[in-house]
Amino acid sequence: MQYSFHTHRITGGIGADDRYWEALEEGTFELPRCADCKRWMWPAHFRCGQCGCWQVLWEPVDPVGTVYAWTRCWYTFDRTTERAPDVPYVVVLAEIPAADGARVIGVLRGPEEQLRIGAPVRGHIDAPSAKTKGYAAIRWELAGK
């Protein structure tokens, strides 16, 4: 499969999360864990620092969790000007209990009334677009009680 993000590659951060973006483009939410000790490793890295294993397993995870932190962005910075029409938009850092509390960033979609730390969220996948820099992206939606 030809992945969109390969042609829009962002060279920052650790850079061991290719499979995360590939999986999103395939329509699944996957997170990495150590192939040996099975520890969830997020953000993805090249070696499990706890057991020394170099193999990483990417496992499909149900994208449900809670709001760990959030911000409402009223200003678009230089490298994300594609978001200008959406201002203000909310970015949510969601904690995923099924992956030992891994925190995954996504832009909120849908109603914002219940937005608070601890609120349940569910993820949906957006196809690559200019707003997402050519990457597929998880979008968090407040799930209600």
């Binding site: 951060g13 953000p43 959030w70 994300t80 938009y89």
Partner: protein, 392 residues
């Protein structure tokens, strides 16, 4: 491996010269950063009574690109013997002072310039240049670009989950602008910030408003570090470096918003080391320059240095406590990154030195112990305690 406290650097070096160019609104200096760096370094040499050609060490941090080898002809450098950059961003200063001290104590260099210069003139937007293409895809794809946005989520956690009132952010901004009013060099000296003006200023990234965020400026700022043996023979009262640890404890580093604790500014390891290495406690500090890229991160830095706790931050972090001359902890007495000018935090070093000399625009009477905390929230941070001769 031993984790014994190392006091080998304590009091062995001193800042003996400080220099800076005017702080220009970004993009208006009309001069490239290299020239601004040179001007600041030469000015620091004049302040110290040192010939610029005697500088043999060049140390900076973050995205600084005006390396020593580029400046040698203009300084008439006799021999460059040491040059290094502390990784990370604003978190690297004041660790750069510690690196300079390490070079001096180990005999690698004798006269070290520590400096930072930025100019948008003919260059990129500063915040783009500063980020050096290292923002993760996880952030840029999801609408997070500027440090203000990442730090905003951490401060949201500080406020909503840890219960530290948002008012502490406002009071930090008010104190900075209050001090800037009396600093002729401050870019923000003409702004009379009060509660109402703060409260009606526009949101940048909640919980940050405009006045919670530092401005970017064109300028060069430098200081000169020499050994404690040499320091007393120069022109100014020395500001001795008592400690300047850098680092990141487990749970910190480049973790793409998976840091623990998340409200932190990253100082839990280095603050503990600072107090252990210097033998002083938070209550001993007379005045502090708290690097605030954004106010909320400065609030976290004060908590992590032990000036207060999450539980009593509300009582401690008040406007009255943060202002000179009589506050419990006067901070950012030149106006800080918020109101004096943002040169990636380097101007805070010079102000920490002025307090020990007694020459701050908002002098704390008799200040002897002067703290400078580095860029908060960075993957690696650092912090430094400077002191007068009496504190050695």
């Amino acid at each position: 491996m031993s984790n014994a406290i190392n006091t080998m650097l304590r009091g062995t070096t001193a800042v003996v010269g400080i220099g800076q160019t005017p702080f220009y609104k970004r993009g208006t200096s009309g001069q490239p950063a290299l020239k601004l760096a040179l001007q600041a370094i030469v000015s620091a040499c004049e302040d110290a009574g040192i010939d610029p050609s005697d500088i043999d060490g060049f140390v900076s941090y973050g995205a600084e690109r005006n390396d020593g080898q580029r400046m040698m002809p203009a300084l008439n450098t006799k021999e460059l013997r040491f040059g290094a950059l502390v990784w990370t961003h604003g978190g690297g200063i004041p660790g750069a002072l510690g690196l300079a001290a390490t070079a001096i104590v180990t005999g690698q260099a004798n006269v070290v310039a520590v400096y930072r210069a930025m100019s948008e003139t003919g260059g990129q937007r500063l915040r783009v240049a500063v980020s050096q293409d290292d923002t993760a895809a996880q952030q840029l794809v999801n609408g997070l670009d500027g440090p203000a946005q990442m730090c905003a989520m951490r401060s949201m956690r500080l406020i909503e989950a840890e219960g530290v009132p948002a008012r502490t952010l406002r009071d930090m901004a008010l104190a900075s602008y209050y001090h800037a009013r009396r600093n002729p060099a401050a870019v923000g000296r003409g702004i009379e910030l009060d509660e109402s003006k703060y409260g009606s200023s526009r949101w940048i990234s909640e919980p940050y408003r405009l006045f919670d965020c530092s401005r970017e400026n064109d300028a060069g700022v430098a200081c000169i570090v020499v050994s404690a043996q040499q320091a007393p023979y120069l022109r100014q009262p020395p500001a001795y470096l008592l400690g300047a640890p850098m680092g990141a404890a487990r749970g910190w580093g480049m973790l793409e918003e998976n840091h623990n604790p998340y409200w932190s500014a990253g100082f839990q390891g280095v603050a503990k080391r600072l107090w252990a290495e210097t033998g002083y406690r938070p209550g001993d500090v007379d005045v502090a320059q708290i690097y605030e890229n954004m106010t909320g991160m400065g609030v976290s830095a004060m908590i992590e240095h032990g000036f207060c706790s999450l539980e009593n931050a509300a009582e401690f972090i008040t406007f009255d406590n943060l202002i000179a001359p009589n506050g419990a902890l006067p901070i950012n007495t030149s106006g800080g990154n918020l109101a004096e000018g943002f040169i990636h935090g380097m101007s805070l070093v010079n102000e920490a030195v002025r307090q020990i000399r007694g020459t701050s625009p908002n002098q704390v009477p008799g200040a002897a112990l002067s703290l400078m905390t580095g860029g908060p929230g960075d993957p690696v941070v650092s912090t430094a305690l400077l002191g007068s001769a009496d504190t050695l």
